[in-house]
Symmetry: C2
Subunit: 439 residues, 2 copies
């Protein structure tokens, strides 16, 4: 019998703001950061790794929230956790006193999500499988048992979910082979950060197309003339066959979004992401009606399954981003993927941040194999930085994520990276900017 | 010139779970708690006081979130803050890195709300007025300048808000006199906690009616037979002229809420509060349509103005609770009160918690004087415990809140209370249960 002996947390921050990587209309100077969690067991070589992603200030608050879950985790029998990942998640989310701090949103929910993801990492490692395969090889009954259907049953019942999952069983082995052979489509935001010059954007866009990407994304929302110019330049640069998406990062009110998007109508857009507040379900629906057929999207800040449910019920979106570190862990993302499949909404996972590519690829691949059965009408975001800090970094080749083979959730960081970027005491925060960048 | 010299925070918890005060279907054992904040200035006798309310575990996370705002506050010129409470709030809410932790929801937003409320307390103290009067005596232009209309302009523009406020100006002096003479209606939840026996509930209900309350509220949602029995008993006890509301504290899925409320149809209900997830705007609308004319309500967990806006746009509620410590401070509650007035939705402020009665009375009274002009079709929740810990506790007489006269927001706690109930080091947490209760 093995026990969980510690829930260690680390405030890890990367000084990305120094190069304007990740800059957009609402986030001018992010320092990509992780409240990194290690769920240790009494076996020295067996632990669960995960993280909550933040963009700098407040990463200490996020760490404190994970620390507040210590008493729910330390001392548990490892088998009790990994054999009932649904029960484990429900006990964390159901803590009646902590629930007041959300419920199921913001700092506390992200903390709970990180701990749940660490448990999935541990479970997959003990099974010797990457998380995508660990999920994909569950029976429909096992998978449904991990999901909390509270507040969902007017849109999706456990019985409906079972029926959907059973219908996907026959093609599973074929799709696993297909995934291993082809990978999963990626798209890239690397050319599109607002802080970049036109020249840098064009160069990176050309490089993206050469590297095999079929979709690129540009940040918009600071200045309408700039946006129109940059979108036209990008279209000229990549030609008519590459999809161009834009991301406003919640910059607009509903009327502003409608008028701004009418200005952008000349550029054929693959989707418009986060046109307004992520909480504004009816606002997204109104924007979508007004600018049809421009596809509307949101999700990286959508805080739980109840919000996704309503986006679908209100016909507010054409596609959604999911985020591996925003909601209540794998379990809640499985609920969201099932809802998306039921409502026929495509999923383009969000991954602009440290460790998010590593985590979310598993969810997209599990969705393809076991839930929606689709991958070629969708893509996972890819941003090519900070992967060197991970023990099992993502591999993107010819515009596709290669299915990971190593056991777990790919979120384990190198010990030397954690030590070097710990905030505020890590050496990277105490040396000249150019040295911190170079390492 | 005076400066803000410190933002001190305290983790204060009261062992209310020992008597099941505050117990409901989702919160079986709350320890009413405050992440208490004191915004100190270089004048020893002048500070701003406020709190974020929690129900126990996680109060330390809430305190850490307030501490993370230190750099936005300490060192500021007091006049710059109190002369531009809108700008002060926008800078806190607009911190692009902290914004990732919400945006505008959960732990971080409640922390920001507490700091904003401390600034209003400070401003009102320096003006020598209680906060309700400080707001009520602002010009329409001054009041509108405190509000962030971002994400609201499809429902309410600054111009519309100005028109509404100007229309309310002529009656202000009369309404101030009326408020001072009559007080503001209160309702009581004291009889209705789920942990109470039928006998205790009936005794407290009789006492509530004798004390002048015209509305009582019962918690429901654990067991339908119990709920029907308790509601009928309560109706028999108080007679046909006293309003009875029920509160399910988010217990139900949408289909459950509809079937449960059909069982309760025999009892004439003043409202049904929190039938389902506070995030489920479309769910509330569906429940309301299905059980019409039973009035539906939510709000104590509604995390910001964007969610309230949609509740109104979707015709999802007949009335709302507002909470002084959930959203982004006075400024955001003013936006919510203006939206409620525009959409003709009655407001019954939430106050079940420590310090919430003290704070929210000011918002309701300001609404009556300066915004909606109404008070006799609404009421503020009143729970009669823990008031002894406040320097200017609420006074409720003959079923009405008496308008406070002391300068500020009424949230300052006695120093000896803070010291005694600080967690975990305060003496109340280290002595036998009966002694901690008695004090």
């Amino acid at each position: 019998m093995s026990r969980i002996t510690a829930l260690d947390t680390y405030d890890v921050r990367f000084p990305t703001s120094r190069e304007l990587d990740g800059s957009d209309a609402m986030n001018p100077d992010p320092d990509y950061s992780a409240a990194y969690v290690v769920m240790r067991t009494d076996q020295p070589d067996m632990a669960g790794y995960a993280l909550a992603f933040t963009i700098g200030r407040g990463n200490d608050v996020q760490k404190a929230a994970i620390d507040a879950l210590h008493h729910h985790v330390v001392g548990l029998d490892v088998d009790d956790v990994i054999d009932d990942l649904g029960g484990f998640a429900r006990r964390l989310i159901g803590d009646s006193q902590l629930r007041w701090l959300g419920p199921e949103k913001g700092v506390m929910h992200m903390a709970i999500g990180a701990v749940i993801n660490a448990a999935w990492d541990l479970a997959a490692r003990m099974a010797g499988k990457p998380v995508w395969r660990f999920i994909a090889e569950m029976t429909p009954e096992q998978l449904v048992a991990t999901i909390d259907f509270r507040y969902l049953t007017d849109a999706l019942t456990p019985g409906e979910a079972l029926t959907m999952l059973h219908a996907a069983v026959p093609g599973k082995l074929r799709r696993i082979s297909q995934l291993l052979a082809e990978g999963y489509p990626a798209y890239t935001t690397s050319p599109g950060w607002l802080g970049y010059s036109d020249e840098k954007m064009q160069r990176l866009a050309r490089e993206a197309v050469s590297a095999g990407f079929r979709t690129i994304k540009l940040k918009v929302g600071m200045n309408i003339e700039d946006d129109v110019r940059r979108c036209r330049l990008a279209r000229k640069t990549v030609g008519p066959d590459i999809a161009i998406a834009v991301d406003a990062n919640q910059r607009w009110d509903v009327p502003d979004a409608i008028s701004w998007l009418r200005h952008l109508a000349g550029v054929q857009l693959a989707w418009v992401e986060e046109p307004t507040s992520p909480d504004d379900i009816l606002g997204h629906a109104a924007i979508r009606r007004a600018v049809t057929p421009v596809p509307i999207s949101t999700g990286e800040h959508t805080h739980n399954r109840v919000m996704f449910k309503q986006l679908f019920q209100a016909n507010a979106v054409d596609l959604v981003q999911i985020d591996a570190a925003r909601v209540g862990g794998v379990n809640e993302n499985l609920a969201i993927l099932l809802l998306a499949a039921k409502y026929g909404v495509r999923v383009f996972p969000h991954a602009g941040g440290v460790g998010l590519c590593e985590l979310v690829q598993h969810l997209a691949m599990a969705d393809f194999v076991a839930i929606s059965g689709k991958k070629d009408d969708r893509a996972i975001e890819f941003v090519d930085h900070l992967h060197q800090h991970f023990v099992d970094p993502v591999i993107v080749s010819n515009g596709c994520y290669i299915a990971p083979d190593a056991p777990g959730f790919s979120a384990q960081m190198h010990t030397h990276s954690v030590e070097r970027y710990r905030y505020p005491e890590g050496p990277a925060w105490h040396e000249p900017a150019d040295m911190a960048r170079a390492s």
